[in-house]
Subunit: 352 residues, 2 copies
C-alpha cells in the first residue's frame, strides 16, 4: 500500500495540500500510442490483451514511460463483468462493443449470477498484482468498473447508436426488471472492486459513461443509487474503506451536488462544466477531477498551454483538484501533445 501522506494524487483525492496539481488521463494507455498498438497486435485481440496479465501490465505502464503522470490505471475494459456473466463480449471494428448473448427477457436477467472475481474474472486481479509488482510504489494504481446503469446499457443491446431506446424502454415499461439487473450488477461491482483493492489498487473509479442520457429524475432512480450502493459497500468493509473513490458521470454536471453526496472522495466532470462553478457547488465535500476537452489535444502547444492555464485558474488555488480530460483520450491524438499537456500542468500549477 502506497503511503497516502507522500502521494500527490492520493492527497488531492483527500483534499490535502499538494506541491502541484496531479494529472492522469482517462484511457492514457491506448490506441494513440504506437507501442500500445504493437502490444495489441501481438495479443491478437483486445480481449486477449485484457485477459493476459503480463500484456495488460505492459500497456498499463507504457504511458508512464513517456509522460510524467501521477497515477497508473489498470488496463482493462468496463465490460469484463457482463462478459464474465456469460454474455460473450466481442468488438466489431467501427461499431464498438457487442455481446453474443445480450439480455432479451426478464428470465435472462433472473438467470444472471454474480461472478466471483477470483474465478470468472481471475485475469483482472492477476493483472493488478502483476502491475503492482512491476510498478512498485513509485505511483498509485487506479482500479475501476463501469457503473451498473452503463453496463446495463450495453447488456440490453443498445448504446449511443440506437439513441438508448432499448434501455429506456425497459426503464419505462419494465422498471422492476431493470432494477433487478442493476442490483445484480451493483453486487458484482462491489466484489470486483474489492478484489482489485485486495490485489493492490490504491483508488477506484466508477465510469458512469451513459448516466448523462437519463432525465434528472431517472438518474436518481436508475444510476446514482447503484453507484452509491457500491460506494457504501466499500465503505462498510474494514479491508476496503480506506480506499478513495471517484465517480464520473459523463454529462452529469447538472447533478453534481447529488454525485458529491454519494459518499465518493471525488467527482469527475466533463468539459461542459466550468471548474470554478463545480468547486463552488461541491468543492467543500469532495475533490474534483477534470476537465480538458480531449479535442484540445489536437491544438498547437501554445493553445494547449493556454487551455491548461485557464482550467487551473478556474479551479483556483484550493486543495482537491486532479487534472484530467473530460473523457477518454482520442485515438488519433498526437502523442507529443500529451507531453505538452502534462508538462504544462506541472509548470503552471506549482504552489508559490
Amino acid at each position: 500500500m502506497r503511503q497516502i501522506e507522500q502521494d500527490r494524487f492520493l492527497r488531492a483525492l483527500r483534499r490535502l495540500p499538494v506541491d502541484r496539481t496531479p494529472i492522469w488521463l482517462m484511457r492514457q494507455a491506448g490506441r494513440y500510442l504506437p507501442e500500445y498498438r504493437e502490444t495489441r497486435a501481438r495479443a491478437g485481440s483486445f480481449m486477449a490483451l485484457c485477459q493476459n496479465p503480463e500484456l495488460a501490465c505492459e500497456v498499463t505502464l507504457q504511458p508512464l514511460e513517456r509522460y510524467d503522470l501521477d497515477a497508473a490505471i489498470l488496463f482493462s475494459d468496463i465490460l469484463t463483468i457482463p462478459d464474465a456473466m456469460g454474455l460473450g463480449l466481442h468488438f466489431v471494428e467501427g461499431e464498438g462493443p457487442k455481446f453474443h448473448h445480450p439480455i432479451r427477457t426478464v428470465q435472462d436477467i433472473e438467470r444472471l449470477g454474480v461472478p466471483d472475481p477470483e474465478r470468472e474474472l481471475a485475469y483482472v486481479p492477476a493483472a493488478v498484482r502483476t502491475i503492482r509488482q512491476a510498478l512498485g510504489h513509485r505511483l498509485p494504481l487506479i482500479g475501476f468498473c463501469g457503473s451498473p446503469w452503463t453496463l446495463a446499457v450495453y447488456m440490453l443491446g443498445g448504446g449511443s447508436h440506437t439513441g438508448f431506446a432499448t434501455i429506456k424502454s425497459w426503464a419505462y415499461q419494465q422498471p422492476e426488471a431493470l432494477h433487478l439487473l442493476l442490483a445484480i450488477l451493483a453486487d458484482a461491482c462491489v466484489l470486483y472492486l474489492q478484489a482489485q483493492i485486495d490485489a493492490g489498487v490504491d483508488a477506484v473509479m466508477l465510469f458512469d459513461t451513459w448516466g448523462g442520457v437519463l432525465s434528472a429524475r431517472d438518474y436518481q432512480h436508475f444510476s446514482l443509487p447503484y453507484c452509491q450502493r457500491i460506494i457504501h459497500a466499500l465503505a462498510a468493509s474494514p479491508a476496503h474503506q480506506h480506499i478513495p473513490s471517484i465517480l464520473f458521470t459523463k454529462g452529469g454536471g447538472l447533478w453534481l451536488e447529488s454525485m458529491a453526496q454519494s459518499g465518493v472522495s471525488a467527482v469527475g466532470v466533463d468539459w461542459t462544466m466550468n471548474l470554478c462553478d463545480a468547486r463552488m457547488r461541491v468543492g467543500h465535500q469532495v475533490a474534483i477531477q477534470g476537465n480538458l476537452d480531449p479535442s484540445c489535444l489536437f491544438a498547437s502547444p501554445a493553445r494547449i498551454e493556454q487551455e491548461v492555464q485557464m482550467i487551473l485558474q478556474d479551479f483556483g488555488d484550493y486543495p482537491g483538484h486532479i487534472f484530467n480530460l473530460g473523457h477518454g483520450i482520442e485515438q488519433h491524438t498526437p502523442p507529443e501533445n500529451v507531453t505538452t499537456l502534462v508538462e504544462a500542468v506541472k509548470r503552471f500549477s506549482v504552489r508559490g
Copy 2:
C-alpha cells in the same frame, strides 16, 4: 398577426397567465405519422417536400388534425441556409444530412454569400404564406432556423458520428476562420427569420442542437454570441421586434443563466434538467419550454400521464411554461401515445 392577448402559447412565451399549459412538440410533423410518410413519398425526396410550399403546408397541418396542439411549426429543415449558400444538401439513408460541397478551407468560407431569403430561399417564405393562409388565425405559427454553430458543424463535414472532431479542430486551430463563418451564418439567419416573420410567423425558435458539445468557455465564444447577435438584430428592427423568440441549446442546462440573458423570450431545456431548478435559475427572466424525454412516448398511457404530472409539478403553478419534449419526437413513436400526452397536459394543467 394573431392577437397575443388571446393566445395561450404566445401568452406563455411572455410569461402572462394562461388557462392551462400550452403544448407543442419538436418535430411534431414527421415520420412517426403515416400521413406524413404518404406525403413524403408523393414528394419524392425530403428536400422536394421542404421546397414545395403546398406539400410543406400539408405536413405542417397534419399533426394539428390529430392532436389538440397549441402551435404549428413551419415544416422545413435547419440546413436550408447552407444549401442556399451552394453546399448541396442531401440526405443519406441512415446517415443523416450531408453536403456535396462541405467547407474545406478558409477560402471556401470567404467565398460564401449571405442568401437572399426571397430568392435563394423563396420556397420558405412561400411555405409560411401558404400555411398562414390555410391555418388562418386558429393557431400561432412558429418559424425557425439552426444556430450558426450547429449549421457550421454540418457545413464543416462533421457531426455526432465523428465526435465533432472537424469543427473542434477549426475552433482550436483556426478560430478566426470559424468566427468568420459563424458571423456570415448569423447574418444569414437574421434575414431568414425576418423573411419568415414578414411572411407571417408569430414566434421564432433557434435550434442549437450541437451547442452542448462545447466546453463551458467555448459555448460563450462560438455558439451563444451568434445566437445573441440574431436575437439582437430582430430586437433592433421595428418590423420584427414584437415577435417572441425561443433558444434551445440541447445539453445546455449548465449554461441556462447565460442563455436566459441573451435577450430571448424563452429557453428550451432537455430532459436532463429538472424544471423546478430551471425555473428557480431563470424563471423570473424568461419562459421555459420542455422537457419530456421523447423516449417516454414509448411507455404505457398511465406512465406517460404520470411523467406529465411530475413535469407540471416540477414547474409549478407559475406563468411561463410551454410543454414540449426535450428533443424531437422519435421516428417510431406510436401516434396514439402523442394523443395521451397532449390530453394529459390539457387535463393536468388546468388552473384551478
